[in-house]
């Protein structure tokens, strides 16, 4: 009987919480020591850290998608496009034959919209496209309104990011720059690209709509 009681006391005494109870029952002034961290507590903490890390990851993804806009989100999900025939071209002449043209010049915007080329937005396979801006700006010369230009951001932003042009080439405020054809043919303003890597100033009606032949 006594041996049985001792065994029970020894066994229960091995557990931290019950040991404390037993000691305080038998001895006065047995200082209650804080229980050491149990396995359960550690596991709970680990689980909490995991949950928080998961929440942080989700929040980061959501904020990144919100910044990128719907176009980028859709792009990020689409798989890598197959190689286009034009990418096999060895010379410019071969490539030029495959590109659509307007005014006897390659139409790079049409090449993208027709899917002849699918230029990637960045070196990283996960790189997202810059948003396309559907903003038209009418630029009307004070001295001759017939030479008004409807500048369309949309085709430009299919290729370029805002920072490619603003503010180094064009100030953000409409009309802040005085753009003349002389400056353009000298390679300033539109002439930074047009006449070099985009259609030249010879194609008047593509910007000055009033000059289009009916």
């Amino acid at each position: 009987m006594m041996v049985g009681c001792l065994m029970v006391m020894l066994l229960t005494g091995c557990q931290a919480a019950t040991r404390q109870k037993m000691l305080s029952l038998v001895f006065d002034g047995a200082t209650p020591t804080p229980p050491p961290p149990t396995r359960r507590l550690r596991r709970d903490l680990l689980r909490e850290i995991e949950t928080l890390q998961e929440q942080l990851r989700q929040a980061r993804e959501e904020s990144a998608l919100a910044q990128q806009g719907p176009a980028r989100a859709a792009e990020a999900q689409t798989p890598a496009a197959p190689a286009r025939p034009i990418e096999q071209a060895r010379t410019w002449d071969e490539a030029a034959k495959l590109l659509p043209s307007s005014d006897d010049m390659p139409d790079w915007v049409k090449a993208v919209s027709d899917g002849v080329i699918a230029p990637k937005p960045g070196l990283d396979p996960q790189a997202a496209r810059e948003p396309v801006l559907p903003l038209d700006v009418e630029l009307v010369p004070a001295d001759d309104p017939t030479y008004a230009v409807l500048f369309r951001h949309e085709p430009h932003t299919a290729w370029l990011s805002c920072a490619n042009c603003h503010p180094a080439i064009f100030q953000m405020k409409r009309g802040a720059d005085t753009i003349t054809m002389d400056k353009i043919t000298e390679g300033k303003y539109c002439g930074v690209c047009h006449g070099k890597v985009a259609f030249s100033a010879d194609a008047c009606a593509r910007c000055h709509q009033a000059m289009a032949t009916p």
Binding site: R84, A89, I117, P119, K120, G122, L123, N164, I169, K196
Partner: protein
Amino acid sequence: MSLKRFVLTLLLASLWAGCVVAADGDVVFKREGQEGTTPPAVFPHWIHRIRYRCYACHASLFEMKAGAVRITMDDIMAGKFCGVCHNGKTAWAVTFETCARCHKGQ
């Protein structure tokens, strides 16, 4: 006589046409080094353009203006400028076997 002149004109025209192969945006770099056997590098803008949008390279890797930045082979081998892609992973690596792919002069 007139036939000879015609043939000569045709020959000259074909030679001239053969020289004008540079496409829009191609850049023929000026070499700073001593006059040597290595011809200047020609950058084919169109090859890169059919694969990447402008903002993939401009202006983070290259200024918009052609020749605005001095590019050396050491820079490229160190993974800068062309070396960001031309490293054998994204695009063909810069080695002694590939010199002539850029250094072909014009």
